[in-house]
Amino acid sequence: MTAVDPGLPTPPFVPIGSSSYLQVRGVRVSFDGFVAVDGVDLTVSSGDLRFLIGPNGAGKTTMVDAITGLAKATGSAEFNGKELIGEKSHRIVRLGVGRTFQTATVFEELSVLQNLDIAGGIHRKTLGMLRARRSVPAYVEEALETTGLTALANRPAGVLAHGQKQWLEIGMLLVQNAQVMLLDEPVAGMSAEEREETGQLLKRIGSDRVIIVIEHDMEFVRNFADSVTVMHGGKVLSEGTVSQIQADPRVQEVYLGRTADAELDPFSPPALTKEES
C-alpha cells in the first residue's frame, strides 16, 4: 500500500504480509527551538504489541501528540496510505487512529454506557445524532464485555476506580473501531492485578490492531511487549524484542546513568511495580 522510501534504513520490525501498519518517517516536533522529537522513524504493524519506553522527557508523549494532531509536527506518519501529519485531530480519529491520555479523561457526568455510546458517534449520520438511543448498540455491548465493565454500565463514569477509567477509555477506542491505538501509560497507578488484566486485554484486542503503549513499568513491558522501541532525547535509541533491548549497551547506558531514578531502570524488576499516581 505505502511505498517505503528506499533512502531510509529499514527498521527491524517492518511487517511482512501484514494487513495494516503505522509508518512514521522523520517526525520532528519543536517548541520554540527546543526539539522534543527529532526525526523519529517508527513502523508498527497490527498484531505487534509495541511498547514505547524511555526516560522522562524522551519525547514519547510528544511523539503520540504529533501523530494525533495535538502537537505541530513535520515529517510523515502514514496509516493505510493516509497521511496523518497536518490533519486535524478529529479527522485523524476518523481515519482510524485513537489515543488515550496519561490521566484518564472520561466524561464524568455521563454513564459508562453513554461514554462508550458517544464514542460510536463517528459511525453515525449527523441527523441521527438528534435521536435518542433506543437500544444498546451491539458494538457498545461488545466493548462492555471486552473491557469487563458490563456490571457498571449505568454508573456515572466519574465514580469509577482509576483502573476502570483506563479500561473505559480503551473500550471507547474499541467502539470507535480504532485500528491504531496509542495508549499513554495505561497502567500507571494500577494494582498488580489490574495491570495483569490490562495486559491480557491488550493481547486480546491487539491481534488485528496497531497498538503502541507508552510505559514506564518495566515488569509490565517484559510481560506483554511483543516489541519495544526505546526513545531518548527525542530520538529512537534502540528497537527490538525485550531481551534485545535489555542487551543493548546504549539502552543500559541511558538507564544506568540514571540509577537514582529507580522506576526507570529496566534491570531491577522488584522495585518497578510501583508508580506514583
Binding site: V93, F107, E109, G121, R155, Q164, Q176, S191, E276, S277
Partner: protein, 373 residues
C-alpha cells in the same frame, strides 16, 4: 436485589418524567392560568413566558453547552424588531410609519423595511435571521476556540453594540423610544382582550414547544455529546467530532428561541426599545436561568418565570428594590445551590432514597489503591 428493580424503574422515570412535567406545565399555562388570572396578570405572564423562551435557549447553550451567552439580547432584539417593524407597518397600512415622518417629513419607507409588510416574511425572518447571524458569529467564535470569559464578554459586547446601533439610527428605528403605537397583530385588534388571550396562548404554546425541543435534544445523542463538549472539549476531538460544530448547533438553537421570545414580546408589551435588548436586559435573561438551574430541563424556564414575576410584583411596591433582591438571590443560589432551585428536588429525592442505592460500592473497589504505591 432492589438494584435490579431500580435499574428497570430509573430509565422509565427519567424517560417519561420530563414529558409528564411538560404536560403539567401545559395544563397550568394553557388552562389554569387563563381561567384564574385577570387580563392584566395574564398579559404579565405572557411577558414572563417570552423571557422563559429565551431562558430555555440559554439553558441549552450555557447549562448543557457551557457557553455563557451574555448577549442573548441580540437575538431577542432581532426577533423583536422584525415583529416591531411588521406591526408598525400594519398600523400605518404599509405606508411610512409616523415616527419616520415626524423625524423627516420627506422620507420614504427604507428598502429593508418593505419586506416586513408581509406577515409570512416576518415570521420567516424571525426564524432565519438568528440562524444566519448566530451561524456566522458562532462559526467565527468557536472555530477560533474562543471560550470562557472571552466568549461571555464578546457576546455581551455585541448586545451593547446592537443596542447602540439601534439607538443611533433613530430615523429608522425610533431610537431610544423604540417602535410602538401598534394597533393590530396579524389583523387582530390589539385592544381586544381576546387578542391578548390568543397572543398569550401562542406564547405559552411556543414555550412548551421549545421545552419539548430541548427535552428531545437532551435525551438525544447530541445532548450527550454537548455535555461531553462542555466538560472536556478537547477530549471530544478524540471521539472524532469537531467541538466547534457541536457548540455551534446549540448556540444557533438558543438564538432562534431568543428571537421567538423577542418577537412575541412586542405585541404583548406594545413597545420594543433598545433598553430591552442591551447589556442589562441580557444579564437579566441569564439571572433567571442561574436561579432556576441552568442544566436542568425546567430550571431555566421556571427560573425566568419566577424572576419575571418577582420583578413585576416587587417593583410594584418597591420600584428600585427588586434589583437588590435579585442580586441577593443570585448570590445565595450561586453559593448554596449551584445547581439552581430546581436541583432542590433532586437533593430531596436523594435524601429520601434508601442509602443502599447511593452508596453501593463499585465492582472492584479493592484494587483501586494506586495511592498506596
Amino acid at each position: 436485589m432492589s438494584a435490579l428493580l431500580q435499574a428497570k424503574w430509573e430509565p422509565l422515570r427519567s424517560k417519561w418524567g420530563p414529558l409528564l412535567g411538560i404536560a403539567v406545565l401545559g395544563v397550568l399555562l394553557l388552562v389554569f392560568a387563563p381561567a384564574v388570572l385577570s387580563d392584566f396578570r395574564l398579559n404579565n405572564l405572557a411577558k414572563y413566558c417570552c423571557w422563559a423562551l429565551v431562558a430555555v435557549g440559554i439553558g441549552l447553550a450555557w447549562g448543557r453547552g457551557g457557553m455563557l451567552v451574555m448577549g442573548q439580547g441580540v437575538f431577542f432584539g432581532l426577533g423583536a424588531y422584525a415583529m416591531g417593524m411588521h406591526l408598525s407597518l400594519e398600523a400605518s397600512d404599509g405606508t411610512t410609519p409616523v415616527f419616520m415622518i415626524l423625524y423627516d417629513p420627506t422620507t420614504g419607507l427604507p428598502a429593508y423595511w418593505a419586506p416586513f409588510k408581509s406577515g409570512a416574511f416576518t415570521i420567516f425572518a424571525i426564524i432565519v435571521a438568528p440562524i444566519f447571524i448566530a451561524g456566522i458569529l458562532g462559526f467565527a467564535i468557536f472555530k477560533r476556540k474562543v471560550k470562557g470569559a472571552y466568549f461571555a464578554i464578546l457576546t455581551q459586547a455585541l448586545a451593547v453594540a446592537l443596542a447602540t446601533l439601534i439607538t443611533s439610527k433613530i430615523q429608522w428605528t425610533g431610537g431610544d423610544t423604540g417602535l410602538t403605537d401598534f394597533k393590530t397583530f396579524f389583523g387582530a385588534d390589539l385592544a381586544d382582550s381576546d387578542t391578548s388571550l390568543m397572543i398569550y396562548l401562542i406564547t405559552a404554546g411556543l414555550l412548551l414547544a421549545c421545552l419539548l425541543v430541548v427535552w428531545q435534544l437532551y435525551r438525544s445523542r447530541f445532548g450527550e455529546l454537548l455535555v461531553a463538549t462542555r466538560d472536556a472539549e478537547e477530549r471530544v476531538r478524540f471521539l472524532g467530532h469537531d467541538p466547534a460544530n457541536v457548540k455551534l448547533f446549540a448556540f444557533v438553537v438558543a438564538a432562534v428561541m431568543a428571537s421567538i421570545g423577542g418577537a412575541m414580546f412586542v405585541p404583548i408589551v406594545g413597545i420594543i426599545s433598545p433598553k430591552e435588548i442591551g447589556a442589562a436586559a441580557s444579564i437579566f435573561m441569564i439571572a433567571g436561568v442561574a436561579v432556576g438551574g441552568r442544566a436542568a430541563l425546567f430550571g431555566p424556564a421556571l427560573g425566568a418565570l419566577a424572576i419575571g414575576y418577582g420583578r413585576s410584583s416587587l417593583s410594584e411596591q418597591w420600584p428600585n428594590g427588586w434589583v437588590y433582591f435579585l442580586g441577593g438571590l443570585f448570590i445565595v443560589v450561586t453559593l448554596l445551590l449551584p445547581g439552581g432551585l430546581t436541583s432542590l428536588f433532586g437533593r430531596l429525592r436523594a435524601q429520601l432514597r434508601p442509602r443502599s442505592a447511593a452508596a453501593e460500592p463499585a465492582a472492584k473497589p479493592a484494587t483501586a489503591d494506586g495511592m498506596a504505591g
